[in-house]
Every structure is written in C-alpha cells, then in structure tokens.
Symmetry: C2
Subunit: 331 residues, 2 copies
C-alpha cells in the first residue's frame, strides 16, 4: 500500500484536532483510498518531535511533546522542514495577517525542499498569494489550502473538481461564523449587539478579543483568497473595502426583519468588499447560528450555494485531510 | 493538446442543450484544462450523425440531423456505439424507470467497446446499479453520473473529491424542483394544491403529466442512486418507501407555517424513504421555488448542504461537462 508521510507544523487547537481525527480515520483512509497516511513529525515553537519511526498517533496527545521520545528541544521549524523526509508539510500555525509569517516561510521552505503543502493558514495566502503560486510552479510541488476558507465547507475543491466547465461570475456569502452568530442572536432573540457578543464569548464562539472578526478582517482575508484562487485575480488585503458589524443596532436588525430581510456580514468577492447587507429571508444565504454559507454564480450551473461549519478543529480536519489525501493520490 | 472525443446518444432537450453549451465553452475548456473536447457523432432514435471528421458545433443545431452530411438513417445506436472510435459515450436518452432501458444497454455497450461514459440518465442507475459497476470494473473504463442527481448541484463528485476523509452518516433533501415549486407556492401564496400545480404547468415547470414527480417517484430514483453511490448500498427502486405530495392540503401547509415550519418533499437516503416532512423555517434545506437542496451529514465535517438548480438543459450541462472533462483528464 502507498505510504504518505506528513510533517505537522503547529500544535495548537487545529494541530491537535487533526492528530486526533487522523488517528480515528487512518484505517478508513487506507480502505477508501489505498493510502497509508503517517505522521513523521510535529513541530511547535519550542522544538520538534521527530521520532526515528513515525509518530504514534495513539499516544502523541497523551503527554507534552517535550516529554516524548524523539523530542528535539530548540530545533527550528524551518530547519526541521528542510531536514524532514516527509512527503508533505501540513502548516497549521496562527498567521500574522499583515506579513503572512511564519506560515509563509514554512510553506516556501517546504516547496523548496521538495515537499507538498496542505494548510489551514489564511495569512500567507491573503498577503503573498502570487509568491506562493510562483514557488509552486517553480518547484513542481503542490499547495492545497481548502481549509483556509470556510472550514469544512468545500469551496476551492468544489470549483476545481465539480464545476470544471463553469466560469465564475460572482462569489459572495457568510465567511465568518462568529459574526453570523451575533447577528442571528440579535434577529431571533431581539437583543442588542453587546449582549449577543457577550453570549458568543461565554459560549466560546467569540475569542476574548473578537475585533478581528467583528471588524470584518477575517472575512476580508477569505475574500482575498477566493478572489485569487477562483477568480484569477492577484489582490491583497488592502484591496478590499471592509465594514464590520460593530455599528449594527438592534433597531436596524429589527426593521430589516419586519420587511422580510436578515442582516448578514457578506464577503463579496467580485466587488472586493466586506459589509453588512440585507439578505431576503428565503434566500439560501440566510442561514443561522455559526454556519457559513457561500454562493457561487457561474455561467452554466447558475447558482450553487454551499453551507456548513466554518470553524472548529474537527470540522477543519475534514478539509485538511481531504487535501492531504489528494496530494497522496498524486504521489 | 490532448483531444477527447465524445459520441452523444440522445438528441432531446438535454442533448441539444449540451451541444449548445459545449460550443460556447469549448475554448474555455481548452484553456482551463488543456483538453480539446470534440463531438464525433450524435445518435437519436432514427439514426446517427457520424460525419467523417468531427461534428461542427456551430451548425449542428441549425437544421435536422437527417439533413446533414454524415447522417445514417436507420443506424441503430448500439451499433454506432460499437463502431465509433470516440473516447466516451455521453448517454442522454429518457429512461424507463422499471427496466433502465434503453440507457442501460447503451452504457454496457460503451464500456464493453472500451469507452468511458458520462450520463444524466437516472433509470439505469436506479434499476441496475451493481450491473453497471461490475461492467465498469471488468472493462477498466469509467462511468460518471453526476447529472443523474440534482442537475447542476454537485453531490457525487462533491463527496468523492472534496470530502475524502469523511464517512457519510445520512443524506436527505429536496431532490425534485417541481414538487418544491408547488409546495412553495402553497406556502407563500396561500393557494391550494391544484392551483399551484396548474401554475407549475403554465410555467413549464411541471410536465403535462406530472405524476412521476408528484408521487415522489423521481425523488425515489435519486434516493436509490445516492444510497448506492455514496452509502455503499445495493438497492433498487422497490426498496424505497414512497409517499408523494398529492394529499397535502392548503390547511396542512398553513398550519405548519404558523408553527414555523415548511412542508417539503424529502428524500431520506439512509432511511430509504421519500415523504413530505416538516422542515424548520431557518433550516438550510428550507429553500424556495424550483431549487434543490441536499444535506450530507458526515462524521468529521458534520453537515454540508448544497443548494442549486436541479433541472434545465443548460444547468445539467454543467454536471455532464465536468464529468467529461474528468474522464478526459484520466485518458
């Protein structure tokens, strides 16, 4: 059976979720795809776990990496990427939305050392899309990044693999679950913005500092990626006009509702704009809670809308693993 | 550039729509996929158009096939399939839902003569799924049938290509646009069943004899295909318990609406059942008009819902052409 080995870079909530999910799904992936997917190492900020054989998925999450056989304190991720004999790097670090680092350097180093890349890290693609694509072309390796937009919702692969004759005319939708939760609460429960935000924080849906989401920055990063990956553009974050939801009052939401509309934070990819918009109540994009919903308008299929879970470590693993299996299939 | 040649079998509304769409998209497909997609012939019930070179897409729809250079009156489709040197047969005939014919024989003959198949014909798959899969395995050729379920909505390819690590736990949804139009009319405009049906007929959404749709038979055929193709089952039409929408009264719809629900004809693939069900108004499956909406529930991604156009010659071409391009890519 074909073996495919990955080096995991980033050991936060997404990295741990991926390892846990992979342990559960390893046998399934062998059976469905004929691919034996193995983890050759795990890097985090203080060093890397690089055991002689492969990482034992049944025990790796049971104690700190630094206490495990094969831990190399202080080994830099970039050096581990170069040294590793893995087939692919799975890049899962948190990214700086201004510079794309450290993910950008990890991705470039992986490609330059002959490895494919699968990643959930938005920042490198929102800041340096062309540079990554150029490196991909130069090295002949492949970068897949389905998980950077819409979590478990298939978008990049949906277009690439299922709409092969279609040209995209526009893409827009709800690309952030936190803001959708807040706006849904305001609409359904008739509460003001602050109360809805506090509930989101209490439920762990919004982070302690949710500015990044509320100001629309997270949505804008995804707009940039969709514009570049699916609409042939070459834009960065600064090309997107962004208005967040902090100024949406309960009165506005209530008035819209009375007239048959919901207010949603919409990323409009063709227009390069993120802003609160009125969505008719019967429209496919009018989804509740933390759901993401994205509509692709094309010349043949007309409109295809995909709805699903935009966040969560397990859900995001769906997209990352699907990409890794695709890479393995091309080996 | 790689050439890929198809023989089109069936020259009704779908076949004509495909030829028209292909003419418009041929250059796009060359550019995006590096595939020069050509039509080597077109068969209908009275004979086949098999010109010496390829079919000229710019003129083929301008006059009856029988008046064109290369027309062979009385040539049987099965003989043309065997004789043809095309890479694939695109099967677009109307199918008998009891026997799967004549599409079944066309598909088997194509495989046995070394050709791939792309098709929108539900009947062979709802009646003889295993036989087709066995023939596929025996011949080493490939049958793709995205267009048999949900028209332009990606479902089979969505699961195969974008959810590679996910196991499906359930699939259900609105798989027929005619019944959805009727139920939406009853809900939104407060009209009884017969009035909604008549409007559907006037708009050309329902055929003169819409029994096939209203009794849920069309939905049941799609349930069979999804069960077999995505849930590893081997069932036929008679395994599905079917209740249509003819007994849904305006009073029922109205009562449901008052309590926050819409009534939709739902195909439940895991339960092997087609029946009218209550769908909460905020649920992603509560879509209006002729839209199709299908929810896949999986172990990792949780729920992924896809919404789009379930019918129409141009929309269906999106799925057929995507499959043909996939086949060409594997040549």
């Amino acid at each position: 059976m074909k073996q495919y080995r990955i080096l995991i870079v980033g050991f936060g909530i997404i990295g741990k979720g991926l390892l846990k999910t992979l342990e559960q799904k390893q046998a399934y992936i062998r059976k469905r795809h004929g691919v034996d997917l193995r983890v050759s190492g795990v890097c985090e900020i203080n060093g890397c776990l690089l055991p002689k054989g492969d990482v034992d998925l049944s025990t790796v999450l049971s104690k700190p990496l630094a206490e495990q056989e094969g831990w190399r304190q202080g080994l830099k991720t970039l050096d581990a990427i170069k040294e590793s004999t893995a087939d692919a790097v799975v890049e899962l670090t948190p990214g700086n939305i201004q510079t794309g680092q450290p993910g950008l350097n990890h991705i470039l180093a992986a490609l330059e050392s002959g490895k494919d890349v699968a990643t959930s890290n938005k920042a490198p693609f929102a800041t340096n899309y062309k540079r990554i694509m150029d490196a991909q072309e130069k090295t002949g390796k492949t970068v897949l990044f389905e998980a950077t937009v819409g979590g478990a919702v298939p978008l990049l692969n949906l277009y690439r693999e299922t709409l092969k004759a279609d040209s995209i005319e526009s893409i827009y939708g709800i690309l952030n679950g936190t803001t959708n939760f807040i706006l849904t609460k305001m609409t359904d429960d008739g509460v003001p913005f602050d109360a809805a935000l506090n509930e989101a924080k209490e439920l762990g849906i919004a982070e302690p500092d949710p500015t990044y989401y509320i100001q629309g920055i997270d949505t804008a990063a995804k707009v940039v990626i969709l514009a570049n990956a699916l609409m042939g553009q070459n834009i960065t974050f600064s090309d997107v006009k962004v208005t967040g939801i902090a100024d949406i009052t309960y009165e506005t939401v209530s008035l819209a509702s009375k007239h048959g509309y919901a207010i949603k934070l919409i990323g409009d990819v063709g227009a390069r704009e993120v802003s609160p918009r009125l969505v008719p109540k019967h429209h496919p994009l009018n989804v509740s809670g933390t759901l993401n919903a994205i509509q692709l308008n094309t010349d043949i299929a007309r409109d295809v809308t995909v709805i699903g879970r935009g966040a969560g470590p397990r859900e995001t693993s769906s997209a990352i693993l699907s990409d890794v299996i695709t890479l393995a299939g091309r080996k």
